[in-house]
């Protein structure tokens, strides 16, 4: 890790918070949740929404960039939303976080072999390929995705999409 990325990571844990909410699976609920952050000018850094095992509910996992003190207040206000059933904050040290990346990389320069080695190293997958491009996927810690992305830059990224992180508490936390 470079000095700057180390600093960024430290900053990350300090400012970024992962909030997991269980909400009613109904129209408009995401807007209510997002609205609480928007009204205060807090940026939602990452967001993932999907139904839970019980399809009456959805889980919204989001990472926000706010000071802890203001976060506490927003969390209490989120809890007041009628459609929010449960809410918890996950600390990075006591949870498992994963994010999925799909990326198309340029391999026209004859570096296909080199790229496949990288795919192996990171335990990524090749989803599609043609003469000039290769589409890869990787599901891993967000930091790991950052690293992968860094390496791929040298090849030439054609398109890249990340899902936003999802998280669950670690089993013994």
């Amino acid at each position: 890790m470079t000095a700057t990325s180390q600093a960024a990571a430290a900053d990350h844990s300090h400012r970024f918070h992962t909030i997991v909410t269980t909400v009613e699976n109904k129209p408009g609920v995401l807007a209510r949740v997002a609205g609480l952050f928007a009204r205060r000018g807090f940026n939602i850094e990452s967001l993932a929404v999907a139904p839970t095992a019980d399809e009456r509910f959805s889980r919204i996992t989001f990472t926000v960039d706010v000071a802890s003190s203001s976060l506490e207040q927003v969390v209490k206000q989120l809890d007041k939303l009628i459609n929010v059933v449960e809410i918890s904050e996950l600390s990075p040290t006591e949870s498992v976080e994963r994010e999925l990346m799909l990326v198309t990389v340029d391999v026209a320069g004859g570096r296909r072999h080199e790229l496949l080695e990288l795919v192996d190293d990171f335990r990524a997958y090749v989803l599609d390929a043609n003469q000039s491009q290769m589409m890869l996927s990787l599901a891993a810690r967000p930091g790991r995705l950052d690293e992968f992305e860094e390496h791929l830059r040298g090849f030439g990224i054609v398109q890249l999409q990340r899902t936003g992180r999802v998280a669950l508490p670690s089993l013994d936390s």
Partner: protein, 577 residues
Amino acid sequence: MDMNGGQALVKALECEGVEVVFGLPGGAILPVYDPIIESTIRHILVRHEQGAGHMAEGYAHATGRPGVAMITSGPGATNGVTPLCDAYMDSIPLVCITGQVPYAAIGTDAFQECDTTGITMAVTKHNFLVTEAQDIPRIIHEAFHIATTGRPGPVLVDIPKDIVDPRNPRSAMTWYEPTDDIMELPGYRPATAGDPELVRAAAELICKAERPVLYAGGGILKARAAAELLALAELIDVPVVTTLMARGCFPDSHELCLGMPGMHGNYTAVTAMQSSDLLIALGARFDDRVTGRLDGFAPDAKVIHVDIDAAELGKVRNPDVAIRGDCKLVIAELVEALKACGGLEAQPDRRAWRSQISGWQERHPLVYEQSEPGELLKPQYVLEVLRDSTPDDTIVTSGVGQHQMWASQYWRFDHPYTWINSGGLGTMGFSVPAAIGAKVGMPDRMVWAVDGDGCFQMTAQELVTASMERIPIKVALFNNAYLGMVRQWQEMFYEERYSEVYLSHEIPDYVKWAEAMGCVALRVEAPEEVAPAINKANEIDDRPVVLEFRSAAEENVYPMVPAGQSNSDIVVDPSQR
């Protein structure tokens, strides 16, 4: 029983015990207005939808029952946004039914379409867009449940036209009883009693405090906890301040009552909080108008904070003991805990604190100078006469401005639910419609609307509603020819550079205007005319009355803590400096 959605909506309102709806029809809500004709519900036709909302608020505050407004889509709904926000800020239980364009037309910029649930998301406790006629009884029941439980607030129900229009097959539904067990609110769990351990911790703090103050907020009234507060204050013999939203929750004539704190609070209430070593905040939210500059607020005080809303605890000031719960239950628990600790005997000797307080009361009473002959009326004098010429349980509503502060200062509120004003949002134009709503809910009580000339011009047309519906409210209109409160700030903080605050004493002619709206109206210009005019107004019970008090433009409200300054820098009346 087969019904259409419109009939189901009206029946659902009846099932909730609704006796009156304030509203105004239009295209999208038309189908609901048809079954209203047969309903037992009284409908009051307003002249502007803002009026409907404020009437519903006045009704709710006076009666404790939720107020109901019904308005159409688009401009009807947008006109309703101000009262919704007002009710949200002051935690008033309201259910607002809005018409919406047919479900299939939503999102097409149809005539009079607006995104009502989107617009009102931030000013309601919750809102619903109903998509199926079959859901109507359940959602109406949920709306009333949410509006009236926990921290009360406004709930809006947006109803597309097709699901209430009998000519549309989508309006067909089968009626069912709206009972609690059909509600689908898995995320809604309003708090009730407080944690006994925290209550014990609070009692221990109280037993150690030498200079405690009970800081009573609007939550006491919402929780209907006035009796519990009285029991608590008397048990431990601790003085009480009542915020602008809480006036009347503790009797002003009680020897423990210090009156209103805050920006225009009286010297003793403000200073007692400043000097306190323990603030017992009950249903209060440390509003900036109460605390002044936060880092200078009550610097030596520990804080016990009781609120039904967890998001209030620690929002402004970090409490030493934070108890989430309903004030009525928590105060009762606290009384028991304090009795268990030994009651009054266990309280420290607070004679020094009491004599300090009575010293402040002696040195800094509320004062004003009576007008000289030929001068315009002093509003404070008029309010004193009005107070002394009306029954004890008179309901007073107010607009926003100087007249509001004087009304709160000079009235003697000895009963809960007798003071109705716009505290959090500070909505000019609140007074007249709120008075109408209060009078509809409490027809046997005298209701006076205290209003400013600026405020009056914002919603006066509702006096037409009052005349037509024979709702005999009385209006004390303080015509000081100015947006007085703003004028005062320009005098004090902008070097007397008056910018856009002058209104005029003469235009409009308030007497003619009020008469044109079907009211009895009198202009009062001299102190000796004040009492006779009020007595005359008090005798009229078949139509609204407007008394225009020509009052002094240059009068300022004191004491005052200038915005952004510490409460220790309170500015008292010039005669006390």
